[in-house]
Symmetry: C2
Subunit: 425 residues, 2 copies
């Protein structure tokens, strides 16, 4: 049995959908990498009763470790430590040294003198953050809020209390893992193996058909936990299995490769972005974007070190920018419209000419909801790919969905064009 | 009492952090707009036992409505309908008309003849999707998967089962709300009022101080549910309150405005993006981005109708693009470095000159983790703002956090520069 964990994300702004949660997925991915089985991710607001109910639920679900995020700030709606302490029957007490360290951090931030006094309200906030449940291990702040680790007691799981700001949480993670509470909770776990295959242009229905076949043809199929996920035109096939089921996993991979291998772009866990970084190591790339409005460039530059291969790009939203900056012939736009393969081709060539990149990709399309013209419904996107020493190629796709979906599908498609071009050369 | 709801997001790919959940926040925001109090958002994988445990938990938490998303596909790991039916003791049976409608959708998608037969595996997938629990209302598919609405029975809450692909879910929502099950679950609710103030450049600590003061100075403070959230340098102050507490809410807003009004940029619920769309209605804008790599342009063009005011931009990641496309003097870069205010100013002016926009904003910075030089640590970002008829202004900021955080903080800062410039003119 591998260790099981549950994650509680607190914050009314996350619960109400106003802010996307960046902590739950991050913590889940880290635990999974360690072979810990994440059973539940729960989001609750800043109400103590709801948090207490979620803590009880995870205890009853038999997890070994609960990780909470958020609710450690100085404001009155930050109640995580007090609520967990109450649920565990642990009295809270002030840690004066911790209080002083938090005060020092705040003085440093504000450029205050070491002897500067705080207002009563500020001092109250600092004191609140320096309260630790009896027997718990405080974790050194990476912002102003300390984390807290509470060991399991045989009957109830360990609780690791982490701050909400994603940067603070991530910086605190290594230290959090080294607490006694977390060590004990995860001791003696059996690692689950984890394989990921990623494909582009493979329909979920065709994949489902192959998996149904695998149910009967793959010996030991039942010991594999297979998840398939369609996202932005990519299909991810994720398998988790105990070490004893490695042969079954291998048979499954063989079957999948036989049926759909030509659609695979990664079999070692690498994402599209990882693959791009690999193949672009000795090539340079540029973009010319209309409907994606900078999303292709933003995604390419998301990765540290991308300045080695991304030269830049042009967001040519207005036709004047297509002609003036990228050198697209105005007559081409007047005759065929901006959303046309010849214009997309000229955009890519223009981006390559302006930046000197080896590879340039372009997008010109109708993301919607408005803008459709006869023969070019919403979702129509033309792509151009200009590669050093080769003929420029263009292609038109029609993507389903709303504006955001069309833009994301077009971004992924453009990046797959770059990946294929760089792999072919 | 307002009606209470819980949301269950299913999918191992979401639980494991590989895919960001787009449904939970969307459904939560819609329910909140309707005055429904969302108590819990729970994420579970594709294991029936974990889903069943979450259904029980929400039932015990006393919610009136459970909304589930995902797990309605044709593959064997899609088990939501069967698990909910089992939890409620409702037998599943095939709805032959629904089966035929799904078959028609798939034939249409694949361009098949109306009489074309499916493979056994495909037919089994369609039949699976056409099974409905006894007494439940099927909801017409907006992809291939029908939704299901199950009425509450006095003892247990209503359950609304929706598909996982965000586009399908959103298209199905109006129809889902019109089911008898949802109507009954939300009948007789009292609407909660909801106010949002957004500020930029206001520290959470200063805000906490004002809120502590409000605890004693605002009559009826206890009936306000206040959430504060710091995100990308913005602070959002969210208050939910029953109609009877409107006077208390007004006193709070007066106090906040008195103390921090100069930092407010929105008091009517509008986001930064909403505000930009408003102020740019009669202006045009362009971008010149280095460290943000297209994120500013992507965010500006995220909104339908943005082509009316976004002309385009240049992603000048390489210095050659800064000089060649934007016309930044090479000597300036050689002398002061690309991350310098004069270069940022020249980038903004270059973007304005190349596109003819009224306003151009630029970013040039060190997002990290590498790239720091003496005097310019990671997080240093220079901004330029060139506005028609005004002197170009530049500013340098140092943002905390990792690469992604620095890029997001810089994007938000650049957009606030544009907002202020457009408001001032």
């Amino acid at each position: 049995m591998s260790a099981r964990a549950g994650i509680i994300v607190t914050g009314t702004e996350v619960l109400s959908g106003q802010v996307a949660d960046r902590n739950g997925p991050w913590v889940a991915a880290r635990l999974l990498e360690m072979g810990v089985d994440v059973a539940h991710v729960l989001i609750c607001g800043d109400r103590p009763a709801d948090l207490a109910a979620q803590l009880r639920f995870l205890g009853e679900a038999g997890v070994d470790l609960i990780v909470t995020t958020g609710g450690l700030g100085p404001t009155a709606d930050d109640l995580t430590v007090a609520t967990v302490a109450d649920a565990r029957g642990l009295p809270l007490s002030l840690d004066p040294e911790l209080e002083e360290r938090i005060a020092t951090i705040i003085r440093d931030w504000r450029g205050l003198d070491p002897s500067a006094a705080f207002s009563d309200a500020m001092a109250a906030g600092i004191a609140k953050q320096a309260h630790v449940p009896a027997g718990a291990e405080p974790i050194e702040p990476t912002g102003t809020a300390p984390g807290v680790a509470i060991a399991g007691d045989g009957r109830r799981p360990a609780v690791l209390i982490l701050p909400g700001p994603p940067g603070e949480l991530r910086r605190m993670w290594p230290q959090a893992l080294s607490t006694r509470a977390v060590h004990e909770a995860l001791a003696g776990r059996e690692d689950l193996q984890h394989d990921t295959i990623r494909a582009y242009g493979l329909s979920e229905a065709d994949l489902a058909e192959t998996l149904r076949e695998a149910e009967t043809s793959v010996d030991g199929f039942d010991s594999l936990e297979i998840t398939t996920c369609m996202r932005d035109g990519e299909v991810e096939i994720d398998t988790r299995y105990p070490a004893a089921a490695a042969t079954a996993e291998q048979s499954l991979v063989t079957l999948l490769t036989d049926r759909h291998g030509d659609r695979f772009f990664s079999t070692d866990g690498a994402t599209l972005d990882d693959m791009l970084a690999r193949v672009l190591a000795r090539r340079t790339v540029a973009t010319a974007e209309s409907c994606t409005g900078g999303m292709v460039a933003a995604r390419l530059t998301d990765r540290a070190g991308s300045s080695a291969y991304v030269l830049g790009g042009v967001v040519s939203y207005a036709n004047e920018v297509k002609t003036g900056v990228l050198g697209v012939p105005p007559a081409l736009i007047a005759e065929l419209g901006a959303v046309s393969e010849p214009v997309a081709g000229a955009m890519a060539e223009g981006a390559r000419a302006r930046t000197g990149a080896d590879i340039a990709v372009s997008t010109s399309g109708i993301a919607g909801p408005g803008g459709a013209v006869p023969g070019k419904p919403v979702g129509t996107v033309c792509f151009g790919l200009a590669v050093d020493g080769r003929d420029t190629v263009t292609v038109t796709r029609r993507f389903p969905g709303d504006r955001d979906t069309v833009r994301r599908l077009a971004t992924t498609y453009a990046l797959h064009l770059v990946l294929e071009a760089a792999q072919d050369s």
